[in-house]
Structures are given as structure tokens and as C-alpha cells.
Amino acid sequence: MEVASIIMLLYCLGRSRACEICQVGDNGMSVESLPVKDHPFYQGLHRGHLLYLRCDVCNRALPYGASLCSRCPESTIRWESSAGLGQVRGRATYHRSYRENLPAPYDVVVVQLDEGPRLLGRLSADAESVKAGARVRAQIDRDELVFVAE
């Protein structure tokens, strides 16, 4: 998947005009088209930080994926470091494995970070008792993020 997107990016950069496929234009690349590891969120994880977005003007935390603040559309938005604490809102348990290094059963959770945004994440294998409503903490280890019971 990653290799494919890099190939697509190179293909698009090779074209002179703005490309509809990945929206790489004359003024550089859009965030969406960056190879995954260059995305600020992944760069943050690499440095051991859980990043989220905030508006520079109204200082409101914004959902992941936002490219502007809906209240101050002319302002800039910035990545900030989260304390990594939050509450599980929903949990899904996979009973089938889709890739070798992720054997079933495993849990995916939606966590409402204390700063506001909702973040998808994997639940630590030893956090089996953590259910919706439970407090969790982000644990980052070698670019990998899991949530553990707080």
C-alpha cells in the first residue's frame, strides 16, 4: 500500500500540471498525498509524541483530518503534543486476523482525548478489561501507539 502510494506520488510529480489523482500541484504537495511516514502525525509518533491539531486563533482543538478551523477559516492550524490521556468511547474486538503481525483476537478503540479530538487506536493486549467509558493512556514504543488502562 505504501509502495503503491509512493509510486503514485512519483508519477504525479513527474507531470507538469496539477494532478487530480493525488492533488500534487505546482505549489508542492498536499498533506493527503505525502507518503505516510512524512505525515506530521507519524513523525510525532517517531519522536515519541502523540500529536493533534489546534487552531492558532481561537485555540480550539480540531478533529484529525481538518485542514482549516471551521470558525476561523483564515487562521493557521498547528500540531500540538497531547498528554495522551482520554476516555474509551467504543471498542471493537476482531476475531479474525487480517495480517500476520496482528493475530486475532485484538481490540480497536475510539478514544476521546482529554484535549478534545477523537482518535482511533489499538488497545494493548493486556488491557482486556478496558471497555467504553474507561480511562486510558497512550503508550508509544518504536513508532507504535497502543492504549493502556490508566
Binding site: 500500500m1 505504501e2 493527503e32 505525502l34 505516510v36 505525515h39 502525525f41 478533529p63 484529525y64 483530518g65 481538518a66 468511547r89 467504543g90 471498542r91 471493537a92 474486538t93 476482531y94 476475531h95 479474525r96 487480517y98 495480517r99 496482528l102 485484538y106 480497536v108 478503540v109 475510539v110 476521546q112 478534545g116 479530538p117 477523537r118 482518535l119 482511533l120 487506536g121 489499538r122 471497555k131 467504553a132 467509558g133
Partner: protein, 393 residues
């Protein structure tokens, strides 16, 4: 008091390809079969059709359902031709755009078609295993192991059930209600009676979903013919009149700030706009045909449309209100869970069958006003239609 207006358009033809769990040809071929069937149903020739709208599955290559479907069907005089992409809301959207075009004078007789072939020789699971992008972070779903639409909907289901402290049998109640209808529908694929013990014995897919909480995919195509409400009685014996239309797209439901414990759904907005257009309230709706690829959707959409208080839809379904004999029959052909999964066409086709009084054992007495919904993404993109048996409400 809103004035009740006359119908905006009418659906005068319904056509099916073969529906099968086996490989029965390409989506393009099946689409042509369904369109031909719909034209025969409406007693129209290709030269009578001047609009074609196409809906392919969002999961497939666009080239599998090209605009050149026009040439397969020898539609030489089109004044309207487009592919509509609103994910699971597309089928309802096609009828809406056809209605708009007809009322604006752009076209008179518009065919809308959907086709999909998710089941190939390697089985159906692969087609639905791709991660659904709900996180806002590129490729993050795969990193987290959130593969397939079932996982994304399972998170919504667990959040809903946990917030209101409901048990998982609420989901089972939806599966059982659908099955009760499917038992009465010869076109449905899962027709054996289903009780709670059998539901609870169904294997997990992604907890809280069991296999029986998920849509039953088939290969096939469905087409409908839309025309003006004025012309409709000359074409069809029992046209289905379009009284209300609405869409609601509230932004990513997975990331939006929760209100009342739950993310906002565009479904409520879509339904409200449709009701306002028709000059009716939810209490005037006699039956619902929901896009419910997963059992949870029926509960959420019942509440979003004001049929139940927040958190009360599970009890409503458990009490049999959506089942045969209930106060608000829902998914009367068995829906996506027990009927067949052809995305937005499953609920639309069933509503038409009911208006035409071709429902056999499952035929409803009251078909004055049905709500038909579509939803796509992870509960992100919503569209609604209000269909009635009479040109005036």
C-alpha cells in the same frame, strides 16, 4: 402547518438482473440486464429513455461501470448521463437528481441503475476487507488493524450500546425482525426462521457484530425508471410517487464532537428535509425501508428520524414494532441482513414492490407513505426519499 404539495416525480419501472451468490457476469452486463428489465416493466423502448444515471459500488474500479453502458443499451438520445457517487446514499441520490432534472425540463424519462459483483471465485470477504477511512490520518486504520466496514460500524455500535447501557440483544432484535420479513419474501436469500438463541450462536465477525448483524452480499443489479408525476399514470398501473427528498452530510461521524453522547448523524437532517418538502411529520410515515448494511443502522436511523427517543430504538424493535404486525414495519423484504445486499437499491426496490402491491405474503395494507434511506461512509452520507401510492398526500 406546511401545505401538502403534489408529488415531485414518480417511479414507473423496476427491473432486476439475476441475483446470485455465484459469479454470473460483470457488473456492466448485469446493469444492462436490469435496465432492460425495467424498460420492459414500464413498457418503454430504448428510444423513449432520455436520461441514464449510474451507481457503482464505491469499492470497485470506475471502469467497471462506464458511461458507455449507454451504448450497451443502445440509448442514442440521452439528454442526461452521469455517474453518481455518494457511496451508500447514491441510489436514493440518483432518484433525487433524476427528479430535479425532470422538473427542470432537462429530461423526461430517466433510468437509474446500480450493479455490483462483490462475490467472485475467491469469496466475498475480500471485497469488504479494505479499511474504511474514518480516522482522518492517512493509512492509520490499517495501522490500528481496523479492516473492513464491519469494524468501523462495530465501533459505532459499541459506543451507542455502551452510552445508553443497552444489551447486545438489541442488535439481534433487528436481525430477527428482518428475518421475519424475509421468511415471507421468496426473493430473500436467508429465509429460515431465526430465534434469539440462533442469533447468539452466530459467529463473531468484529464484536459486537456477529455474522447475522452484517449484510448478505449478492451479485446483481437493480434499475428504476423515473418520470414526471403527470406522465406516470399513463405509463404504470401503480406508480410510486416521490413526495419528499433530502440529504444530510454532517461531516465524519467518527470524528465529530459528540452531543448527547453520540456523534451527530446527517440522517436526521435528510429525513427532516424530506418531511418538510412533503408537508408531513414522521408520525405520518407508514413504513420504512432503511439502508442497514449492519444491524446498528436501523436503531440509529429510527432515532435520528424521530420514530424513537434516543436510546429507545432497541426496545422498540424488541417489542416487535418493526416486524410483521408492528406499528412501523421496517425493511419488509428482509433488508440487507436477510434479503440481499445491493446497497441503496435493496430498500428502494422493496418500497416500490410494496407500492405496486406485489409483496405477496409480506404485502403491507398501508403504503400511503414510506421512508426510504441511503447511507454511506461510516454513517457519514445520508439521503432520504418519501414514496407514496398517490399523487397527492
Amino acid at each position: 402547518m406546511v401545505k401538502r404539495a403534489s408529488a415531485k416525480s414518480a417511479i414507473v419501472g423496476l427491473g432486476f438482473s439475476e441475483l446470485s451468490r455465484k459469479s454470473i457476469g460483470s457488473a456492466r452486463k448485469l446493469a444492462a440486464d436490469a435496465v432492460r428489465d425495467a424498460m420492459v416493466d414500464a413498457n418503454l423502448r430504448p428510444c423513449d429513455v432520455d436520461g441514464l444515471l449510474i451507481n457503482r459500488s464505491p469499492l470497485v474500479d470506475p471502469a467497471s461501470m462506464p458511461l458507455a453502458l449507454q451504448d450497451d443499451l443502445q440509448l442514442a438520445n440521452l439528454r442526461l448521463l452521469s455517474s453518481i457517487e455518494g457511496q451508500g446514499s447514491s441510489a436514493v441520490q440518483m432518484v433525487q437528481y433524476a427528479t430535479g432534472a425532470i422538473r427542470a425540463g432537462m429530461a423526461r424519462t430517466v433510468v437509474c441503475v446500480f450493479a455490483d459483483t462483490p462475490l467472485q471465485s475467491q469469496g466475498g470477504g475480500q471485497a469488504f476487507a479494505a479499511p474504511l477511512a474514518i480516522s482522518g490520518i492517512p493509512d492509520w486504520e490499517a495501522q490500528c488493524g481496523l479492516y473492513g466496514a464491519p469494524g468501523a460500524y462495530a465501533l459505532a455500535a459499541d459506543e451507542y450500546l455502551s452510552y445508553y447501557g443497552l444489551d447486545r440483544d438489541c442488535l439481534g432484535a433487528v436481525a430477527m425482525s428482518d428475518r421475519e420479513w424475509a421468511v415471507r419474501n421468496p426473493q430473500a436469500f436467508l429465509r429460515k426462521p431465526l430465534d434469539l438463541a440462533q442469533y447468539q450462536a452466530s459467529p463473531w465477525v468484529v464484536e459486537p457484530f456477529r455474522v447475522l448483524d452484517c449484510a448478505y452480499p449478492v451479485n446483481g443489479a437493480v434499475a428504476v425508471v423515473v418520470t414526471s408525476s403527470r406522465r406516470a399514470p399513463n405509463i404504470a398501473e401503480r406508480p410510486a410517487y416521490v413526495h419528499g427528498m433530502g440529504q444530510g452530510h454532517a461531516g465524519s461521524a467518527a470524528q465529530a464532537e459528540a452531543h448527547d453522547g453520540l456523534p451527530p448523524l446527517g440522517a436526521g437532517l435528510a429525513g427532516r428535509i424530506a418531511c418538510d418538502m412533503a408537508g408531513v411529520a414522521p408520525k405520518d410515515i407508514s413504513a420504512c425501508q432503511f439502508y442497514e448494511a449492519f444491524s446498528i443502522t436501523t436503531l440509529l436511523v429510527l432515532e435520528a428520524n424521530g420514530f424513537c427517543e434516543p436510546g429507545a430504538a432497541g426496545d422498540f424493535v424488541k417489542a416487535g414494532e418493526t416486524s410483521p404486525g408492528g406499528r412501523l414495519p421496517c425493511n419488509t423484504g428482509g433488508g440487507h441482513l436477510s434479503g440481499y445486499y445491493l446497497q441503496g437499491m435493496t430498500p428502494l426496490a422493496e418500497a416500490l414492490i410494496q407500492v405496486r402491491r406485489q409483496g405477496g405474503e409480506r404485502q403491507l395494507d398501508d403504503v400511503a407513505l414510506q421512508l426510504v434511506t441511503g447511507n454511506g461512509g461510516r454513517l457519514d452520507y445520508h439521503a432520504a426519499l418519501l414514496l407514496g401510492s398517490e399523487p397527492r398526500l
